[in-house]
Each structure stands twice: as C-alpha cells, then as structure tokens.
Amino acid sequence: MAADYAGQGEKSVLEKMHHELNVFGISKHWDFGEFLGFPIQLNGETIFHTWVAMAVTLLIAWVAVRGIDMRRPGKMQVCFEMLFDFLRGLINQSMDPKRGAGLFSIVVTFFLFIAVMNVMGVVPTYVKPTADIQTTFALALVTVSLIYIWGIKYKGARYFKHYVSPYPIFLPITIMEDIVKPVTLAFRLFGNMKGKEIMILSLLALVSGTSWMAGGFLAGTLWLLFCIFISLIQAFVFTMLTIAFVSSAVSEEH
C-alpha cells in the first residue's frame, strides 16, 4: 500500500494508514447540532478512544483494588502503592504536605490517565487521545485552574500580588507566563504524542511490500518499545510540572 501512495507525498501515506487502521469505522467528527448558535462538534476518534482509555484505567484500578489486603497486597496493589508513594514524595518535596494533600488524587489521576492514554498508543488501531491538541489542552486547563484555585485558597487576594512584584513593570511578563504555562504544557504532550503516532504510522507504512527488509518491521518494533518509555516520561513530565506550578503558586517567597 505504501507503494500505491509513494508518489503522492508523506501526507497521503499517513492518512491512508490512519484510515486503514480505523477498523471500527469511527467517523472523524460527531455533530450534535447547535447550542445557543454554537455548533456542537466532537472529534469522534478522540472521544471514542478516551472512553477506551477510561475503561482500561478503571480496569487497572479495579485489579489493584480487588482483593485489597493490608498484610498481603496484590501485584497491582503494590504498583499503585509505589506510585502513590512516589507522587506523594514529589508533592511533599515541593510544598507544604498539608497544602499538597488535596492535590494528591488529582496528580495521581493525571499520571495514571495520561500514562494509559499514551501507552495504549502502541496498539496500532488505537488513536491516542493525547495526540489531539484538544485533550492536552483540556488537561492543561485543569492544571491552570489548579494553579488559581490553590493560589487563591492559600493566599487569598495576596496571590495576585505576584503579578506586580517586585515591580509593576513585570505585569505583562507575568500575564504572558500565565498564558504560556498551559500552552507549553499542552503542546509538549501533544507534540510528543503526535510525533510518536506519525512515526508509528510511517513505520507501519514501510512494512508492506519489500520495504520491510529496509527496517520497517524491526524499526517499528523498536520504536514501539521506545514509545512506551516516551509515554511514561511524558505522563511524568506533565504530572511533575503540574506539581511544580501549583507549588510555586502556594509558596510564600514570591
């Protein structure tokens, strides 16, 4: 199939692959008419695969919680406890444990949900929701909300003082910072995952015909292994940055 599209450029090959891997025939857009004059349109693939990821996340959580035991924890329970310990350690390192307590379950959910969505991308028919800018942007918006909620909760009106400190002339820069934070968060995750997806599709396209000998299959396999690594790293980076942003919002030395 790669040969059929060889002359039509990279874009067509990728789109063809993408189309062929869409075995469930999920349409690109779901339209739900209009609401107050605005069209309600959803990205079908993103939403559908988010549901799959949610189901998988819940399944993993169920495996961890099933047969939960204080004295003899199951394997998945141990994994979760290690994750909890690790993330709680990160939170407690960067901020007052009392202030970080409420952040804990949000951070764990960030890591877990993003990691599942990312890692599931190694299944070729699965379209990562995180390779859609709307998903990553939604998550980044949650992080930004957390920054404001935590900042105002623990510092009240004083939180807004950091926009004009040490001098009011920094106001444009601090406002810019608030905009840049979610945008960088969203694009970092999105870019990594989209790049991963493009690589997977390209390498899959190479498998057909004789080109597999040129490394399509081997490279594809190695790339998928590497993808697992990138996926977890990106989930961790997102989580880590969320903690860092919130902790800088609640810290006193502004």
Binding site: F32, N43, D69, S105, L141
Partner: protein, 163 residues
C-alpha cells in the same frame, strides 16, 4: 496534516478527566489510601509493642540474672554449710566410735579381770578341797577337825600368797 482546530471536544475531555478523578478517587484511591494508613498504623503499633516487649524482656532478664546470682550464692552457702556439717558429723561419729571402742575395751578388760579373779578363787577352793582330801588320806584320824581346819587355812593362805 496536524489538526489544531478546537471544538467542543476540549470541554468533553475536561469532563472526562474530572469524571475519572471522581470515580477513581471514590473507588480506587480511598480504599488504597485507607489500606496504606491501616498498614502504617499497624506497623507503628507493632514497633511500639515490640519496643515495649523488648524493654520488659530486658527488665525481666535483669531480674532473672539477679535471681540466678542470688540462687548461686545461696547454693554456695548451702554447700559450704553442708560440707561443714558433714565434716562435723563425721568427726562426731569417729569420736563416738572411738569412745565406744574404748568402752568396749575397758569392759572387756574388766571382764577378763573378773573372770581371772573368779578362776583364781575357784582354783583356790579346788586346791583347798584337794589339799583337804590329800591331808585326810595322809593323816587319817590323826588330826582333829580343828587341827585339820587350821592346817587347811594355812595351806590356803600359802596358796593365796603364791599367786
């Protein structure tokens, strides 16, 4: 190629995330955290109990060691006392045996003496009778009874002096 347009998906994804947060928090995190907390409490309790037991064991050990030392000391005293008592007893028994032996010896000697006296007296009588008989045969009717008696008495005296 890369679609960067926005539509309602972004809100849907936020909703999905919040849904996951609520559901996981309710069904996964809470029980897991409870278990972790229980375990922490359990371990802390166990450590505390172990420390308490250790302290009490150390106290008990000290007490037992003191008791043992005391018992050992007492045993030593008892042994010494018993040795002394037995020695004394042995000494007493020996003493008693010695006096008993002495007494028996003395008794035996006295008996021998008595027997000897008795034998001598008996012998004296026998000799007297024999002398009388011999004299009677020799002097038959030549002597009166009194003369005979005197003679005998003299003979007896002489025999008595012989011894």
């Amino acid at each position: 190629m890369v679609d960067l347009s926005f539509n309602a998906t972004v809100f849907m994804q936020m909703f999905h995330f919040l849904l996951m947060l609520v559901v996981l928090r309710m069904f996964a995190y809470r029980p897991l955290m409870n278990v972790i907390e229980q375990r922490q409490v359990y371990i802390a309790d166990e450590i505390e109990a172990a420390e308490r037991q250790k302290a009490s064991a150390a106290g008990l050990r000290g007490q037992l060691e003191a008791d043992l030392a005391k018992a050992r000391e007492e045993g030593k005293v008892i042994v010494i006392r018993a040795t002394k008592a037995s020695e004394e007893q042995a000494q007493a028994i020996m003493e008693q045996a010695r006096t008993e032996a002495q007494r028996l010896k003395e008794e035996a000697l006295a008996e021998i003496g008595r027997e000897r006296e008795k034998a001598i007296a008996q012998l004296r009588d026998e000799v007297a009778s024999l002398a009388v008989l011999v004299a009677a045969k020799v002097v038959k009717d030549a002597l009166t009874i009194d003369a005979q008696h005197n003679l005998v008495q003299n003979a007896v005296k002489e025999v008595g002096q012989l011894q």
